[in-house]
Amino acid sequence: MGDFRYWLAENKGTLLAVAVFVIMFGIYAGNHSAGFSGMVVTTAANKGVLLALVAMAQTLVVLTAGIDLSVGMVFVLANCLASQLVVGDALETTFGVVVVLLAGVLCGALNGIIVIYGRLQPIVTTLATGAMFYGIALWLRPIPGGDVNSDLADALTEQLPGGIPTSLVVLLGIVLVVWVPLRRSEIGRAIYAIGSSEPAAYMSGVNIDRARLTAYVVSGLLSACGGLMLTFITYSGEASATIGGSYTLNSIAAVVIGGVSLFGGAGSAIGAIFGAFVLRTIGDLLFVFDFDPLWQPLFQGVILLGAVTLGSLRLLNVKNRLDLFG
């Protein structure tokens, strides 16, 4: 059973996020006036999935010990693009979806290329490119509006027979198609290696540039998936700096709650997904307990701080103070 111990040590951050989410969602569903109904779950799931996708995008860059401040803007850009292109018959809609995802890939690639070949810090690079992406979004959709293929939108945002929210299945599909293979590929290994110790990765003959570029590209792709889902949920596009900024910051919070180390090299996108769910449930919890909405940001902050503190409780057990800085 020695193997299990090592597995537990590697995944404790993720497991903690899952546990916190299960407890919070249990309280939420138990106290909701409508009970643990399909609608409650679906509404919550749709909101959670949006942030979960952006948090997954953030995870990839954070794993390389970087930070991506443009995820929210790619999300908004994809939303605006989708509200123009994902309309019409099946062929046109498919084309639109492909273009939106491709736009996400291009945004990610731009970030990656600047960080890798320009040797600029990720935080500054993505701050600048994020503003650019937002500018493009604003140009595409100066005033909120647009439309989306409603058949596809409804199919992806409502319920499956049996009450399971479709958006959760979409998220699961994205995890299985994007995250799981990446986690188990050589490139995925290299992404962790870069974040953990870039000099050691280089000395080990790891292809650093390819891995980092992949991290940014997949990050862009996942943000675009999120933007696409947003369009399906709202049936419209809006170039909102507020939405972009709040998704960026919440994605960082979700990643931290999900047990991903901001120093890079440790954690999992699965943890970040549950981190996003936890964050979203905070808002819903306040709603069911009838708190004045004005109190929401304050409580959200307090609970975020509490959740993050939970993750650093292990520091109380550190017997060698030098380990505090590790």
């Binding site: 090592y6 290994r189 962790y192 953990s196 003959g205 103070r321 380990d323």
Partner: protein
């Protein structure tokens, strides 16, 4: 084809870093089935030589030949592909990945394009067995392993690539004595299997035991190559340092110190790593800490310096019980304690900061007036230290990381001498530095002791303990098992007391989890 053609050859290779010649006209012949030792002081060009060989840096001039064909290595990957694997002094392991992930990092076994974890685990287990480190669990995260186990993983990782040429750069410096014996057996087996090994070490006994051929470098130039055993140790040392090898250690005082102890420790315990440690040290004494590596010596020094939490027992300074709450309270005046840490690049120095800023950091409070640093006083203090330790730096405003290893270590020591410490704790201060600097450090320690400082000196090098210390406390499994004094401090006594209890597998640390 010439039958005498070596596997690998280097001719007229030169390399400069920003105008400083690190290597010129370097020659080297590496043959299969032989262990080739490269000797030289730090700064002799050994590191540059192997960096060129392993593709980390590129030569400015000269050529390299493998199997008689000219080759260039633009990257470590290219050198790896050509069959050259290097075990560096600075570890190349990735802390957050598991042992198996690390061993298979360059080319993990794959199935359907994805990493096959079962195959990877078998692969890692094989490699660990090949390195004689079966006790390390392949799923353990590298960051949880102690230094000596990491080094074994590093060796396993290099072997897993099935190299034709294996380069070991101070690869045994972090190992326990038991591991060194295992690694030597492995290296000899590899030689018999037809590998070419290039071995770099500061430890002469290791070279005597292992090497078939030796090449000596000095100041970036190749001095001589000879068959092992054809030169006396003294000849070799003279070739390396180009001066008489005598009086390495300063003379010890005749009489044992008496008087009140400056540092008294009674019944010190910390987790399971320190067990009931009691001893006393007097001003003017150099007290050595001996024993196998990783027996609690480092933890003892950290406990005295207030770095560890949950330490029980009494620590008395000048007869007054004082528990430091951290380095800041330990260095404060009543105890005036200094710790020269083990990792000069991590805990010792801020590498990107200037030599000057590094030097004055612990003493800033005494150099500042109302919180503003007094530049003149800082300059005076810095000048004094640079002179006292003969620190060689082109300029005091260059980053300390640009200095050679020996000079970096001098800066670490100097910055602590700034606070005029009365108790000096040293954690293996001469690891990986050249003979000349070592000698200067020994002289300095004796001078500090003569001036009334109390010195606690942990070293993994038995010669140092014998040459420098008035007394040696031998540790085993977190406890002091023997105290050696004066003429009783011999290599025989040190080794036998270090091993006297429970020989065999004393190091199960591969299984130990932190936190």
């Amino acid at each position: 084809m010439d039958a005498n053609m070596p596997l690998f050859q280097m001719q007229g290779v030169a390399k400069s870093y920003g105008g400083v010649r690190a290597l010129e006209e370097a020659h080297l012949r590496v043959e299969t089935g032989r262990i080739h030792a490269v000797l030289g002081e730090n700064g002799a060009g050994k590191s540059t030589l192997i960096k060129i060989m392993s593709g980390v840096v590129q030569a400015d001039a000269g050529q390299m030949m493998l199997d008689g064909a000219k080759i260039v290595f633009p990257s470590p990957k290219a050198a790896n592909a050509a069959g050259i694997a290097c075990i560096f002094q600075e570890l190349s392991l990735i802390p957050d990945l598991s042992v198996a992930d690390n061993i298979a990092i360059a080319n993990p076994p794959r199935r359907f394009g994805l990493i096959d974890r079962k195959a990877q685990r078998r692969f890692a287990e094989e490699a660990l067995a090949r390195a004689g480190a079966e006790d390390i669990h392949p799923l353990a995260q590298v960051k949880d392993l102690p230094l000596s186990r990491r080094q074994m993983v590093e060796i396993a990782k290099a072997l897993a690539r099935h190299p034709r040429i294996l380069i070991l750069d101070e690869a045994t410096s972090a190992l326990t004595a038991g591991d060194v014996a295992k690694v030597f057996a492995v290296l000899k087996r590899l030689r018999d299997e037809g590998l070419a090994l290039l071995y770099i070490s500061h430890r002469m006994q290791e070279i005597d035991e292992l090497a078939d051929d030796c090449s000596v470098f000095r100041n970036g130039r190749h001095v001589a190559s000879y068959q092992a055993g054809t030169k006396s140790r003294n000849d070799v040392v003279e070739m390396m340092i180009g001066r008489e090898y005598s009086h390495v250690f300063p003379p010890k005082p005749e009489a044992a110190k008496t008087g009140a102890p400056a540092l008294e420790v009674a019944g010190l315990n910390w987790t399971h790593r320190l067990n009931n440690i009691s001893f006393a040290a007097r001003p003017g004494e150099i007290v050595g800490l001996g024993g196998l590596d990783g027996q609690g010596q480092r933890e003892l020094l950290l406990a005295l310096f207030g770095v560890l939490r949950g330490v029980s027992g009494d620590i008395a300074v000048n007869g007054v019980v004082r528990h430091a709450r951290g380095p800041r309270s330990a260095k404060a005046v009543p105890s005036a304690m200094a710790l020269i840490p083990e990792g000069r690049k991590t805990e010792g120095l801020m590498l990107p900061m200037s030599v000057r800023d590094n030097l004055t950091l612990p003493a800033l409070d005494s150099l500042a007036r109302f919180g503003i640093i007094d530049r003149d006083r800082e300059q005076t203090a810095v000048d004094m230290m640079v002179k006292l330790l003969a620190i060689k730096a082109a300029n005091l405003d260059i980053p300390v990381g640009a200095l050679s290893g020996g000079n970096q270590q001098k800066v670490v020591i100097a910055k602590w001498l700034m606070i005029a410490p009365r108790i000096i704790l040293l954690n293996d201060p001469t690891r990986g530095i050249d003979v000349g600097t070592k000698q200067e450090i020994y002289q300095l320690l004796r001078k500090l002791a003569d001036d009334g400082a109390t010195i606690l000196f942990y070293s993994t090098d038995y010669d140092e303990l014998i040459g420098c210390c008035d007394r040696v406390l031998v540790m085993y499994d977190g406890a002091i098992v023997r105290e050696l004094k004066g003429a009783d401090i011999t290599e025989h006594a040190l080794v036998s007391s270090a091993f006297s209890i429970g020989s065999g597998c004393m190091d199960q640390t591969g299984e130990r989890q932190v936190g």
